[in-house]
Point group: C2
Chain length 422, copies 2
Amino acid sequence: MKCEVINVGTELLLGQNINTNARDIGIILAEEGIDCFIQTTVGDNLNRLVSALRTASKRADAIVLTGGLGSTDDDLTRDAVAAFAGTALVQDDALRRAIAERIVDFEPEATEKTMRQALLPDGAVPIPPVKGTAAGFILTCDGVLIAATPGVPAEMRQMLESAIIPAMRDMAGEPAAFIISRRVKTYGLREIEVERRVQDIIDAQSNPTIAPLIGKGCVELRVSAKAPSRDKAEKLIDGTVTELEDRLGPHIFGYDNEDMEDVVGSMLDKRGLTVSLGESLTGGLIASRLIKRPGSSAYVLGGVVAYGNAAKRGLLSVAPHSILNHGAVSPQVAEEMALGARKAFAADIGLSTTGIAGPDGGTPDKPVGLVYVALSSADALLCEKTFFHGDRNEIRFKASQYALNMLRTHLNGFNEDDNRRA
Amino acid sequence: MKCEVINVGTELLLGQNINTNARDIGIILAEEGIDCFIQTTVGDNLNRLVSALRTASKRADAIVLTGGLGSTDDDLTRDAVAAFAGTALVQDDALRRAIAERIVDFEPEATEKTMRQALLPDGAVPIPPVKGTAAGFILTCDGVLIAATPGVPAEMRQMLESAIIPAMRDMAGEPAAFIISRRVKTYGLREIEVERRVQDIIDAQSNPTIAPLIGKGCVELRVSAKAPSRDKAEKLIDGTVTELEDRLGPHIFGYDNEDMEDVVGSMLDKRGLTVSLGESLTGGLIASRLIKRPGSSAYVLGGVVAYGNAAKRGLLSVAPHSILNHGAVSPQVAEEMALGARKAFAADIGLSTTGIAGPDGGTPDKPVGLVYVALSSADALLCEKTFFHGDRNEIRFKASQYALNMLRTHLNGFNEDDNRRA
């Protein structure tokens, strides 16, 4: 089955919204084994919408439209599908009642404008509204399945998965092939070095394919397999991922949507260890990232954002002469901050950062991007000097990622020398 | 001038990347007064690419292609444009030299694969590589301007602005109309209330148009004007924004890309006031947001992430009996945390949060989403009880936004009663 997607909305063409639906539909169709070769974005214009439907219907077995199903005059998807199919818009009474019931949550009363949402192209099967008052619908026209959903991402996804994909299945049966992807996330090696280590695996095979890409604070390898069943695709991926794990070892910190803070949080949780933070340039970012994870109160005791020197001295017990002799951005101060954070919260591990995020404050000796990260535990005191490129908040994020990885490495007992780069 | 955009890349169709280029090009074209009625996404397939070029060339005066200009076998944009134009690919010697010079930054030596990037459709004018080794190009074919840029967003933007837009200007002259937008950001009123207050302004005019939308932690009004010059469009917007300001008053906290932390940071900076944080459920998020802004060390003295009760007592001097009698999530503890944060850092203002982010830890009395926010200054101690829906990190973000707005309101001397809702 070949499917095309038409995203409807002048706001998309003007760049006022980012089209996350295009991505989400792409993922869902690929995982369902439905080919999608073309996506089109069209504005709120009846003629252009009808024309886009004509063009797509010549190439595809199914068309998914998103957006243009609201109650304003700009919402023209219903009208365009009816015009394309050569049918009238008719009122769906059940839908009208459902909208009347729901509208009280949003507006004092249902207007005739709202009730435009109860109109459907003649012969279309409604998909009830998910949350608001916008229904979707499915119409088959000259053998082409045409499905329309609201543009709201959560409503689109639910209608696609609950109604539209099953309708496509009814029409076309099980697909010939599924495409599944897994992302393998590494830290500590540059992209070119990751590629070098696995180039022969990449070159040797075409299914799964392996594509390196730069993620946020990591280098990823995307492994994609195509197979007649989901299970077979997963197995192909498992085999390749095992090979990648052999080559990249502990540089791999997670998979798919796992972030560094999830992995570190899970490790702390399992081992019953607690952590506390002493943050200067990262300024609460490490604490906030760790606390994202549900249940983090079990292992994050707290932190001090010691942005000024007085706070470094008063709350983290950094010795005044350390700041005086070495400066706030120095290995001595980083170490004392880690130790101070650990003691202030009586945690198992203290983790600290101090550095120059910029754009001002850099000197020839201590340029913008210089960061010290330190870790204190009952039996270790580590400090690493590192350097990051980028703007203020890129440097802050990279420093937080580096610090979390230092904690991961410490928990792993892994300390390979080349695990030092962003 | 009518322009179409073709985004090239199977990864876009599979949903492996989000298409930020579609948005960025949309914004730039609209601001340049160039109409864009259709955007198409096509995979790395020669026939489909050529076919998309044929279709677009029948409707548009100009076509911008993004992606497919790298050195791998999947990069087919050059080939597709040559096939569409009926010309051969020829090597550009100057480009070859430029690539050879640049490649040393990325790879040990230039391979023949890399040098595919020096090939251009015969007659095309190269756009030199921005950062890497991928050049763009412009070719005019039967009166249609065809421009290609790499898919890397920064490279695409630079080529579009420096070379492609000027080439479109040369071809079509100054545009008939520019579309400019401004976003007016409000906090403290629900979307429906914002709409109610300005509905008559929305209804009374079609230029500028006013569209309400829900932003991250705020309700926005997007004001878009179309006019023969940028200046005239800006003036139309100025007039409408003044009317909106009359209606929404201090609920408006910023414009366009200004976030709450930028606005609050700028207010603190101008008034020479300092702030410190005592954060429980937000866990460093408020500190980290404030520290995003360059120069924030002038007014953010620091903060304590007091996630555990021991930290609340030890570092923020919360009285043990307050926690015992009222619980950690209580107005008493919030107030003591704000006071403790202010004193610990000797700041002018202390700001605190305590609440239940979930998913666990809620009780009938203190459900997930309950948050107390407190502010302490030399002459004030304020505490507000509030409640947020959403998942753990939505609740945490909303609490940070509420707290920053409380600080803004305090600095404004504004304390209207209905400024209490997210």
